[in-house]
Structures are given as C-alpha cells and as structure tokens.
C-alpha cells in the first residue's frame, strides 16, 4: 500500500465515520420509529463501506470483506427488515416519545462527542486508518447509551443497542486496520443476530402481555 492510496483510504474512512456520527445524531432527534430503523440501516451501510475500504486497501485483510458482506446482509437488510416486520405486526404506535426534548438531547450528545474526542485523544497515533475514528466509535457508544435511556419503547432500545454495536465494529476496524480474527467476527455477527431475534421474541411477548411497548411500565420489580 503506497502512501497516496493510504491517504485516500484514510480520508474515505474518516468521511464515512463522520457520516455514521451524523446519522446517530439524527436518530437522537428522530421521532418516527420506522425512520429510525431506516437511519440505522444507512448507518450500517456506511460501516460496511468502511470495512470494504479497509479490505480493499489493506494487503492482508481479505477476511475483512467477509465483515463487510456480513454487515451488509445482516445489518443493512436483514435486521431492518425484521424490525420493520415486528413493528408492523404488533402495530406499535409510531411516535417514539423520548424522555428529554430534542434540544436538550442534542446538547447532551454534543457533550458526549466532546468527551469521546477527549478520551480518544491519547490514542490518535495508534489509529492506522482514518483520523478520529476511535473518537467517533466512543461517541457512538455514548450516544447509543443515551438513546437507550432516553427512549420509552422497547424496540427503540433495541435499536439503540444496535447502534452501540455499530460503534464497536467501527472501533474494531479502525483500530486494528484489519479487524478481528475471522472466527471472532463471525461469532460476534451471529451473536448479534441471535440477540436481536431473542429481543424480538421478548418484545413480542411483552406486547402480548402488557398490551404496550412502553418500558417505563416495566417497573414492578423494586427493592
């Protein structure tokens, strides 16, 4: 890999990573459930793109194509489809109903982004591909976290969890320049799939039992 190629790859990756962050912030202010799912798909697409770029520009990272492909299939097509189906099937109200209003949420998320950069700062020299991807990964984690506790609906929490997962994958690719060993990647991928299915089952059962998707009603167990 010569330096100009490396430079190009780095810029592309940074660009896509920034895109992921922007989408994450859009999800924070988004109120419609189905739109959120689509946004997630788009974010996953960008992740897949990053993986593909890494695989393309790096010499001994052929297996990262696998990552890109699996992400594409799993997170861009399969999971959004599954969630869409779930939403339609149990006829969830489209409104998301966050706890904090969007202004406050945006302010907080801005703070998280700052924090992510502060935490990642000592490690920028370690990043082999792209600048600030680690910071973005950590920010994705923090904002994903925030999404989880700022939403009332069970299914939005699942979505938030998935964005956190995206953050991990971004970090995995960005920090190591060729991702994790294949067996690990595969394991993680299938785990995520199974997790979403299990969560789906639970969401379904909760909807049946509580006739609501509001997790703040899940508060009988105390003390």
């Amino acid at each position: 890999m010569n330096s100009s190629e490396s430079e190009l790859a780095s810029q592309l990756i940074t660009l896509l990573a920034a895109g992921m962050l922007v989408i994450q912030l859009l999800m924070v202010v988004q109120r419609m459930l189905l739109t959120s799912i689509r946004l997630f798909a788009l974010q996953s697409l960008m992740l897949a793109g990053i993986a593909a770029i890494v695989a393309f520009f790096h010499n001994n990272a052929i297996h990262v194509y696998w990552v890109a492909g699996l992400t594409l299939i799993g997170k861009v097509f399969f999971l959004p489809w599954l969630l869409n189906r779930l939403v339609r099937r149990i006829q969830i109200d489209q409104e998301i109903a966050p706890l904090l209003n969007s202004t406050a949420s945006m302010l907080l998320c801005g703070g998280f982004t700052l924090l992510g950069y502060i935490v990642a700062r000592p490690f920028t020299s370690l990043e082999r591909l792209g600048n600030n991807t680690l910071a973005i990964a950590i920010t994705l984690l923090l904002t994903g976290f925030f999404l989880m506790f700022n939403r009332r609906k069970a299914i939005t929490q699942v979505l938030a969890l998935l964005t956190v997962e995206n953050g991990v994958m971004l970090a995995a690719v960005a920090l190591t320049s060729y991702g994790m060993p294949l067996v690990v990647e595969l394991g993680i991928f299938f785990d995520v799939m199974v997790a979403v299915m299990v969560l789906g089952i639970l969401v379904y059962r909760i909807r049946e039992t509580f006739s609501s998707m509001d997790v703040s009603k899940l508060s009988q167990l105390k003390g």
Partner: protein
C-alpha cells in the same frame, strides 16, 4: 486423550437430544447424564492441570485449560448436575399445577445444557473474542430461561436482564477490541488473540490502551457479574427465573462472568505492572458488599434476598482478589467454590416454598415452614447457616481467609469494612429466615409439595459442602493454589 472438547460436547449433545426428544423423563435424564459426565471429566481435568506442564490445550491452542479454568469447570458442572437433579421433579410439580406448559419445560431442558455449554466455552476458550461471544451466548440462552414463566414480572425481569446484559457485553466488546488493538503491531501480520499469547507479550502491549480496555471490560463484564452499581438486573432476574435457573445464575453464571473479568485483570496487571486493575476490583467489590447489606436488611421477597446475598458474595470474591495477596486470592477461590455449593440449595428450597405457598413474599410465607416442609426447612436452614458464614461450613473459612490475608497484607480498613458488611447481611438473613422457617403456620395450607421434594439435590450439595468444608483433597488444594498463583501473577 481429548478432555476439553468432550466437556463442551457433552452438554451440547444433551441439548440437541432434548430438542429432538419427546419424553420429559428422558430429557431430564439426558441432562443429568451429560452433567454427570462433565463432573467426571472435570475431575480428570483437575488431576491433569496440577501436573506439569500445568496447562491442557486442544485444537491448536484454541481451547486451553489451566488451573483456574479447571476450577471453574468443576464448579459449573457440579452446580449444573445439582440443578438437573432438582429440575425434573420441580417442573413435574409446575406442570401439575398448570403454571407452565410442556413446551416451556422442553425449552428449559434444551436451553439449560446450552447455557452450560456457553459457560464451559467461556472458561475453556483461549481466544478472548471467543470468550466474549460465549458469554453473550450464555446471556441469550438464560434470558429465555428467566422469561420461562411468561408472567408480567418475569418478562420484565428478562427484559432488564437482556438489555442491561447486552449493553454490558457491548461495552465488554469494546474493551476486548481495545485489548486486541493494543496487541496489534504496525508491521507484523495479524497477531494471535489468544490469552496465552497476549500474556507472553504482555510487556510489549500499549499500556494506555490496555488501561482503557480494562475500564470497558470492568464495566461490561462487571455488569454480567453483578457488581454494584451495574447489578440492578440481578435481583430481578434471580427472583423471577424458575428456581433451577436461579441456582445456575447465582451459583455459577456470575462467577463465570467474573472469570472473564479476571482474565483481563491478569493481563492488565501483567502489562501495567501496577495496582490499577486490582484497586478497581477492590473498589467495586467493596461497593457491592456495602450496597447489598441494606437491601438484605429490609428485603421482603425471599428470592431477592438470596439474590442480594449473591451480590454480597461476589463482592467478597472481588475484594479477595483485589487485595491481591496469595492468601486472599486463595480465599476468594475457595469462597467461589463454597458459594457455588451453597446458593443453589437455598434457591432449591426457595423453589419448594414458592410452589407450596404460591408466593415469595416472606410476609405471606411465614411463619412455620419448618412444620409445613420439614426437609426443605432443614436444608434451607443449614444452607443459610453456611451462606451467612458460620462454621462448620466452609464459607466461614473462606471469609476468614480473605480477612486474614487482608490484615496480613496491612489492609486493615478494607477488611474492617468487609466484616461490617458481612455482619449486616447476616443480621438480615437471620431475621428474615427465622421469621419464615420457625413458628407455627398461620393457616393450614394445601400441600402441593411432597415433604421430601428436592431432597436428593439439596442433600447431595449440602453433603458435599460439609465434606469439603472439613476436608479438602490435595488435588483441590493444589488446583486452587495454582489458580491463585495465576491470578496473583506468578
């Protein structure tokens, strides 16, 4: 001879068999058989790891067992065996009472071996990434077990368990990725992600990255291990799961998560050479112990009481490891073992009480369980005596060992806090259990539970506890000492 792969295969096979089988007794039997086999294999593994070269590896070092893993394997298999002994009768009564459907029972018999397989994989995997997804697998398989009764509360508990657990595991994955990143060298080819390899190059890892990784791993696996303040799912899940599952969760699942944390702790200490990770463990351990105490004192739900007691014990184990003298680590490992033998008995007894009284509210249960369910009451009393750290049961010895080591190493203040927290927990458990076990039953209830229900499982575990309290076979001692050496960085 292969040892590690059979340990993994036996329960997995039992799970598959149950998926296909139709007869419920056969399912129960398959479970028992599988765990019986793993106990045997565990003992063989134990004998093997105390001889040079002290490590068993298989499948090109993909699976690796040292003394610490062997000790965990033994705990997992013993608790699983006890659970499978108890579960058959337990679900027969549940079915008779119409609380669960046959499909759900089948779910239990399929998922429990898978749960166990996941735990075995955690402790036998050499690759840290594999360890992570094995742990995720245990979480996912146990979520459905927690939700087995499909009550409102059990769904709630399962939801909290899976959300918090998955989030924790996502954080742990972050940490795992960072660890891997610390090992990546610009020029070399893809490094191995095996723990043994990382340990061998520990000195060359990037210390800042390792530190960051440990923070994420601590919060992540700490959530799964139930360290305060990430423990909030624990009482919910433990109290709402069917009692056999509660026993597995409390008896070993927490410790398996702790095991994963320990592997990172060892690595971090080897890399940093400082007390960073052990101080963290100490702080979180102490926090868990202190937090559990007030909840125990004013608890109203029997199984939540037991769950908080587990929190307390996990905290103590962390403190023992955090104090980081050979004696305290030995004490902590010993504590793991004794706790694994004790807590399931308590949950089994609680299960019997639950089935008999149809509630877990201690206000409604007591008084007079001793008259109603004598065997259950005696087992519960004995196990409670053990769990509160009274001799002649082993938890007293292990607690004292931790305290002794703490004082010998000069950690007077920490040890004093530990002692105070243990005292508070004792007061709560004593008060609550006296209230429900002794006395005269207020009303004569219909006896849904045979007087000797669960006696084999409880009796066997108590007998094992008592025997191992006053007599530790040399190989066990050896394995614990070696494991303590591994954790202590020797």
């Amino acid at each position: 001879m292969m040892l590690l792969i059979p340990i993994l295969l036996a329960p997995a096979a039992a799970g598959l068999f149950c998926l296909l089988a139709r007869s419920r007794p056969a399912m129960g039997l398959a479970n028992m058989l599988a765990f019986g086999v793993t106990v045997g294999l565990g003992v063989m593994l134990l004998r093997k790891v105390i001889e040079p070269p002290y490590v068993v590896t298989e499948f090109e070092e993909f699976f690796r067992a040292d003394s610490l893993s062997a000790w965990m394997v033994l705990l997992i298999s013993v608790v699983s065996l006890g659970t499978s002994l108890y579960a058959g009768q337990y679900f027969r009564r549940d079915l008779a009472a119409g609380v669960v459907t046959a499909g759900r029972v089948k779910e239990f018999f399929v998922l429990t071996p898978l749960f166990a397989t996941g735990m075995f994989l955690v402790v036998l995997a050499n690759n840290l990434g594999v360890m992570w997804f094995a742990l995720e697998a245990t979480a996912l398989s146990s979520v459905l077990l927690v939700a087995l009764y499909n009550r409102k509360t059990s769904l709630e508990a399962a939801w909290k368990y899976v959300m918090l657990g998955s989030l924790g595991l996502a954080l742990a994955l972050f940490g795992t990725v960072f660890t891997y990143a610390a090992a990546v060298n610009k020029d070399s080819a893809m490094p191995s992600f095996n723990w043994s390899h990382l340990m061998s190059v520990a000195g060359q890892l990037d210390p800042r990255m390792i530190k960051l990784a440990f923070v994420f791993v601590l919060v992540g696996y700490g959530t799964k291990a139930g360290l305060a303040p990430m423990h909030t799912w624990l009482p919910d899940a433990h109290s709402e799961a069917p009692s056999p599952t509660s026993a597995m969760l409390s008896g070993v699942s927490l410790k398996v998560a702790l095991y994963a944390l320990l592997r990172f702790h060892i690595l971090t200490t080897a890399c940093l050479g400082s007390s960073f990770s052990r101080t963290m463990l100490l702080v979180f351990g102490l926090g868990s112990m202190c937090l559990a105490a007030p909840f125990i004192l004013v608890q109203t739900n029997l199984k939540r009481l037991l769950a908080y007691s587990s929190l307390e014990h996990v905290g103590l184990i962390c403190v023992g490891i955090g104090l980081n003298s050979p004696v305290t680590i030995f004490g902590a490992l010993l504590h793991m073992g004794y706790h694994a033998l004790t807590k399931p008995v308590l949950f089994f007894a609680a299960g019997n009480i639950h089935q008999s009284c149809h509630t877990l509210q201690m206000r409604l249960i007591g008084p007079g369980i001793a008259k109603l369910l004598p065997v259950t009451a005696v087992c519960m009393g004995l196990a409670a005596v053990a769990a509160t750290g009274l001799p002649p049961f082993g938890l007293f010895f292990s607690e004292m060992t931790v305290l002794n080591g703490g004082f010998a190493a000069g950690h007077t203040f920490v040890s004093t806090v530990v002692l105070a927290a243990l005292l508070a927990a004792f007061c709560g458990i004593l008060y609550q259990l006296t209230r429900i076990l002794l006395g005269v039953p207020k009303i004569v209830r219909t006896k849904d539970v045979a007087p000797s229900a669960g006696a084999p499982a409880m009796g066997l575990m108590l007998a094992a506890l008592l025997v191992f309290s006053i007599w530790l076979p040399e190989p066990l001692l050896q394995v614990m000492k070696r494991a303590a050496g591994i954790i202590g960085g020797k």
